[in-house]
Amino acid sequence: MRSLFLILLLVCTCLTDLRADMFADALALEKQGQHAQAAARYESMISQQQASRSVLFNLGNCYYESRNYGKSILAYERALLINPRAADVRKNLALTRKEAFSNEVINLPKGPLHALSRSEWAACIVICALVLGVSSISAWLRPLWRKSAIIIGVLALLPLAFGILALKQRHTESARAVVTASTAKLLLSPFSSADEITSCPPGSLMQVIRVQGDYRYLQLIPSNSCGWLHHSEVELIEK
């Protein structure tokens, strides 16, 4: 048992070191001005399930420097998924949107329900629900602790309710996407020779409504224009 634990610890240490090495390599390339290669390194880290706020933020910067505004905005939006409070990510995102002349999100969502990411709200719900459960059991098994347990349980209800409300209100975020192609045009019908409705600058924020074959039916935020884009021109923010 002890040897198994030691082996696991060794593997985790190696993986952590490997991850740190990959990040350092990518950062070094970025500093040398080789943004495309650095971006490729960051992308490979993400494909190996090593996405973190720092990796996504740096990736966004690399794409920004390469004038690939669509992918830059996508990387920043993904960084905000992990930490919506990151001021540097929000600032860079606003700058990139302005540079891309993309549809402005009138305001990045604000308010208490957007203060945490959806994963953080989910964790909050689970913690509050567990606290509620433990309080309930304590109140039953330990009469001396009953009053305190009830108070703690009631206090846990408030963030639990907030969390449920936040997840419910923000459920449409699963279908948000960003235009990554440099010359995407919203089409009337799901095939290449269809009439064009409007052009979508790279980085435009969209809401996916449905999927048909290789095409996605989307709504542009905030103008609400609807149309079809090929799946290669747009990418979902959440994976």
């Binding site: 973190s52 700058l95 994963s119 459960g133 309930s136 009337l188």
Partner: protein, 585 residues
């Protein structure tokens, strides 16, 4: 030797009693039928089993296997097994059809059926069987395209022509549509085709068809003469005319047998040539909206009071017929007075093909100069019927703008030509240098199984608390515990009473019986059992109450002579009466 022969004979007789000889028969339920009617051919095998008989092909005779069954019965100790195979046979051509004898192998031996004859007698008219070699081009159905309005001989790019698309499918066909309707030719686009087609039954060329109808619009994407055709993939199965179905004689409307021919094919409309003209460049307005059709303003909303630099929402509705989808929002005029921003639009169709309807535009506008200004919306569109660009204006409204005039900003091309300022590196935070942040998934955690599991555990814990508390309070209820203790004591003392009665132990009997009654009375009167005496019973009960009588007897025998053998029965009866007369708690 004689003995052996007798044994063998007896054995054979016994065997024959229990095992029947194999019998094979072939029968027709009718030897004479009309053309197109079916007769039932049955092969029956008794006392054995075999494979399905192979009926040979006979020209112009349809033979179709319907099924087999097996019946085993035991009658008077004898087992009988009957296996049967059913076929339907018939023909649409009158004649005499001979079904030959068929040999079946059963239990290692060959058995042959008798030959049969079927007479197909017509009513003097020969049935017309379709020549299977004649090809009907529309045997599997067809697709047609019709323009639903009177059209000129040409169309313009982006003009939408409303069309009706119909699929004509044979009534007896089985159809699966495999794709949506798409243009086969590359120069055309389909618009707003209805999702669910209308269904109807129609006659064409003396044939009945099931017709599916879609409504939509079609427009051309490039100028020139083009053939337009539409196509749709489907799997269609039609009855095989070379082997038409037969009718059951007792139910002529029921058809049995017959094959289907199934094909995966593409239904296409016939090519229709249309001349497509490009929109003229002469006279094209600068702010041409892109719309082709016929339109008019249906309503506008502009606030009357404005302030320079402050945005307000304006709205307008345009109705008409044509290509609404590519219509841009008409600008406010005079344009130099306004800064406008992209807004929202919504189209409300009036017909199934979304060819006519109205479109609502809403967007924000900021006035730049103070004063009283006449404002209007201007829409430029191309009218294909007139062949010219049209400009329409909404009714002019005068608005009042207060505040300071806004400073001129470079507009349009001037802004585009302006050199973009170099990115100030100080305005972009440097990338993170330490990867301190933990790895995260890009899928939200609440979609994972771990979240559901933990939430379920928390839910169970939350429920377990109050449920456990309720159960515990019921179990620990003092009143309940007291009642249960009394009930246990009553049961014990009743048992002792019965035992003492059997042993004729007067002391134990009266003590246990008194105790039993005291326990019952303590529950009813909320007194301690030991405190209940004859005096209490006399006070609370009637003088002639069986309870009083038994307590008196108990005291008498406690302080007097023990009861005799005859007294015991009476005493027990009194005790039972006393129990019955106990007051309820």
């Amino acid at each position: 030797m004689v003995r052996h022969f007798i044994h063998w004979l007896l054995f054979s007789i016994v065997l024959a009693m229990f095992v029947r000889a194999v019998e094979v028969t072939a029968t027709l339920d009718a030897t004479q039928v009309n053309p197109g009617d079916a007769a039932n051919l049955t092969f029956e095998i008794k006392g054995g089993q075999t494979q399905r008989p192979n009926v040979p092909n006979i020209e112009n005779l349809t033979v179709q296997f319907q099924g087999q069954n097996q019946m085993v019965s035991i009658i008077n100790g004898r087992t009988e097994s009957v296996q049967s195979f059913q076929y339907i046979i018939g023909s649409h051509i009158p004649g005499v059809y001979a079904i030959p004898a068929i040999t079946l192998a059963i239990n290692g031996q060959n058995f042959t059926t008798k030959p049969l004859t079927l007479h197909v007698i017509g009513n003097g008219a020969t049935l017309q069987v379709p020549d299977p070699k004649a090809k009907d081009p529309e045997r599997f159905g067809s697709l047609t395209l019709e323009l639903s309005t009177q059209q000129r001989q040409y169309a313009y790019i982006s003009e939408i022509a409303p069309v009706i698309i119909r699929a004509w499918l044979p009534m007896d066909a089985q159809v699966q549509l495999r794709s949506v309707i798409q243009p086969e030719s590359k120069g055309f686009t389909l618009h707003n085709v209805t999702q669910q087609p209308q269904q109807s039954v129609e006659m064409r060329d003396n044939k009945q068809y099931r017709v599916l109808t879609w409504f939509g619009g079609i427009s051309a994407t490039k100028a020139g003469k083009h053939s337009v055709s539409l196509a749709m993939k489907a799997t269609i199965a039609v009855p095989d005319d070379s082997q038409p179905a037969l009718r059951q004689r007792n139910r002529p409307s029921m058809r049995i047998g017959g094959n289907f021919i199934e094909k995966e094919l593409t239904l296409s409309t016939k090519d229709q040539e249309i001349e497509v003209r490009a929109l003229p460049t002469e006279g094209k307005p600068e702010n041409f909206s892109g719309a082709v059709g016929e339109f008019q303003f249906d309503g506008i909303e502009i606030p009357q009071q404005w302030k320079t630099g402050e945005p307000q929402k304006v709205a307008l509705r345009i109705k008409g017929r044509g290509n609404f989808a590519i219509m841009q929002a008409p600008p406010l005029t005079p344009e130099e007075l306004w800064n406008t921003y992209p807004g929202q639009d919504q189209f409300n169709p009036d017909d199934q093909a979304s060819f006519s309807g109205n479109k609502i535009f809403q967007y924000n506008a900021i006035p730049r100069k103070a004063g009283n200004h006449p404002v209007t919306f201007t829409l430029h569109f191309f009218d294909p019927d007139k062949g010219a660009y049209q400009s329409i204006q909404s009714p002019t409204q005068t608005i009042t703008v207060t505040g300071e005039d806004m400073v001129e900003e470079p507009q349009g091309e001037a802004r585009e030509n302006e050199k973009k300022p170099d990115i100030d590196p100080a305005s972009i935070p440097a990338p993170s240098r330490d990867n301190n942040s933990a790895t995260r998934s890009l899928s939200p955690w609440h979609t994972s199984a771990a979240f559901i599991s933990l939430l379920s555990i928390a839910g169970l814990l939350t429920l377990a608390g109050p449920i456990g508390a309720v159960i515990q309070s019921r179990v620990n209820d003092p009143q309940r515990r007291k009642s249960m203790a009394i009930a246990r004591e009553i049961a014990a003392s009743s048992k002792t009473t019965s035992l003492a009665l059997e042993l004729r132990d007067a002391t134990s009997y009266f003590a246990a019986a008194r105790r039993t009654l005291q326990l019952h009375l303590s529950a009813a009167w909320q007194l301690k059992p030991e405190a209940i005496t004859l005096a209490d019973v006399q006070v609370r009960c009637a003088t002639d109450s069986p309870l009083v009588a038994f307590f008196r007897e108990a005291d008498r025998y406690a302080y007097g002579a023990p009861p005799t053998a005859d007294d015991w029965n009476a005493l027990d009866a009194r005790f039972q009466q006393a129990l019955l007369s106990l007051p309820r708690p």
